[in-house]
Symmetry: C2
């Protein structure tokens, strides 16, 4: 078990530098207190459980699983499969994860940064926009059921 | 991934032969189409995903996880922790798993048999009662929220 301390921001412009990795993921549980995610990235796959978020932190438990299992598990998931390209973008002392969503979530680009403590300082790259850490609409578990392209506002 | 083909019966009398194993388990998801179970038995622990049941069969995906993780994950589960003693009881060509429940489910004893096919024949031991394979009340995921002692009938 680890603790994930993460802040999330919108991205002002499409960010493409280097080769991204395609992520496909779905949710076996999308309750706020216990999401269970199945993720496939290339030949790798994981099952990940996260607790509810307190401030910017939540518990995270992640286990690698066989790819064929993950492909079957994705069929059991609720809602849509979330697909996105992920870039890892070093900036200052940190590496940002920039996710450009596809399909029903296309048009949405977010950047996440993982921190060692809630009050850790970090540099904001010039392409970073509004912070959405506390906005549950941007949770990937939410995007699997209420995709970006269906948002009203 | 495997397919679990299982039939479940009530047990007419308390069955105690040999040393049982204490199981403690909870559910991160208890939706019929995708249960996610955390189970601890002694020093071992697993996370297990099961699909919905068709006749007597469902898909089952099981992964061992570290015991300390499982203990934390049990705290994230919905409802109660289901506790039961499990005996493995050979009879004929099969081995039955007899579960005697504790706590809010005490008084309930069920026996399960895993089969290789839906129409596989098996011997019923003399201590076996009514079949409850299709009665969802007896699913452990249900017992974690509607325990046996609270049943009306």
């Amino acid at each position: 078990m680890g603790v994930e301390i993460e802040r999330k921001f919108l991205v002002l412009q499409s960010y493409q530098q280097g080769e991204p990795i395609l992520y496909r993921q779905g949710y076996l549980s999308r309750e706020p207190g216990r999401t269970v995610r199945v993720r496939v990235a290339g030949e790798n796959a994981w099952i990940t459980i996260k607790s509810s978020t307190q401030n910017f932190s939540r518990q995270e438990f992640e286990y690698p699983i066989p790819l064929p299992d993950a492909q079957e598990l994705l069929l059991l998931c609720e809602g849509f499969i979330v697909e996105k390209y992920r870039w890892r973008v070093p900036h200052g002392k940190h590496t940002w994860e920039v996710d450009e969503f596809l399909g029903d979530n296309s048009g949405l680009i977010v950047a996440e940064i993982e921190l060692d403590s809630e009050d850790e300082l970090f540099e904001l790259p010039p392409w970073i926009g509004e912070e959405v850490s506390s906005d549950m609409r941007y949770h990937n578990s939410n995007l699997s059921v209420y995709p970006f392209q269906q948002w009203e506002d």
